[in-house]
Symmetry: C2
DNA sequence: TCTTCATATGAATATTATTTCATTTGTTAG
DNA sequence: CTAACAAATGAAATAATATTCATATGAAGA
């Protein structure tokens, strides 16, 4: 196995550590979309979507293809479904109870947001 | 499979998207270490190591255990080895050639750093 | 070619994350 | 209890990243 993970993995993970990009990936699980469609679906500016698609494509998380004037982006399902699966397994096994992964205060904030997940909190 | 990946995965991946934290994880592949040992091995301040261990532990990437005055951290091998394996597979398959993942200029910069990897570059 | 639509880019601004340093907390042995 | 060591915390300073807005590029049909 390759050494120097600290360097080699950095872009891989940092590309995935952004809500907009994760939202794009999630959307693309439903099938290919062009930039405008993504933009509308996520209710974000077109330029922002383009900016965020770029690192996703560079890392091989999505593929793209031009069709007439539009460019369609599709998910690299092989990598991404496996990754999401692993994430879910990990979260279930290692962050099973609310108390384990979140402080009480953070938990309450999460509940306000109506999000029942365990891992989306501020870091420190 | 759980919905709302954009929220649920964010902390998971952002915790992994930091060179110091990745270096800690890499070090811990060789076995448990206490904070001072990690600090020395990575040539980083003790407080910085502590700051970075915290999110790693909260996300379940490492475990910790006190032994006398020291606290030893160990890798969650189940998750991490699988994750690193997946990363390597992905990098080999989807970023096989230099041209595909890096611009020429970035490549040169990488070579200067004597790093032969494909994914560690600036994002935009 | 010219116009229109779709996407990409650049650069400034804003936001978020990291690092550092001083200090505190916690543990153990004397 | 106190001293000595180990680790954690807080907050200011710094650095990195994301967002926005204006503009540029590219494709296709008239």
């Amino acid at each position: 196995m390759k050494q120097n993970l600290s360097e080699t993995c950095h872009l891989f993970f940092s590309t995935l550590s952004n809500p907009t990009r994760l939202a794009i990936l999630e959307l693309l699980r439903n099938g290919p979309r062009n930039v405008s469609e993504i933009s509308e679906a996520l209710n974000q500016e077109q330029s922002m979507i383009s900016h965020n698609l770029k690192p996703l494509e560079r890392c091989g998380f999505v593929f793209s293809e031009r069709k007439k004037k539009q460019r369609f982006y599709s998910l690299n399902k092989e990598t991404m479904e496996q990754l999401f699966k692993m994430f879910n397994y990990h979260a279930k096994k290692f962050c099973p109870t609310e108390g384990k992964c979140l402080t009480t205060r953070e938990l309450q904030e999460q509940k306000k947001k109506n999000a029942s997940n365990l891992l989306y909190v501020n870091r420190y």
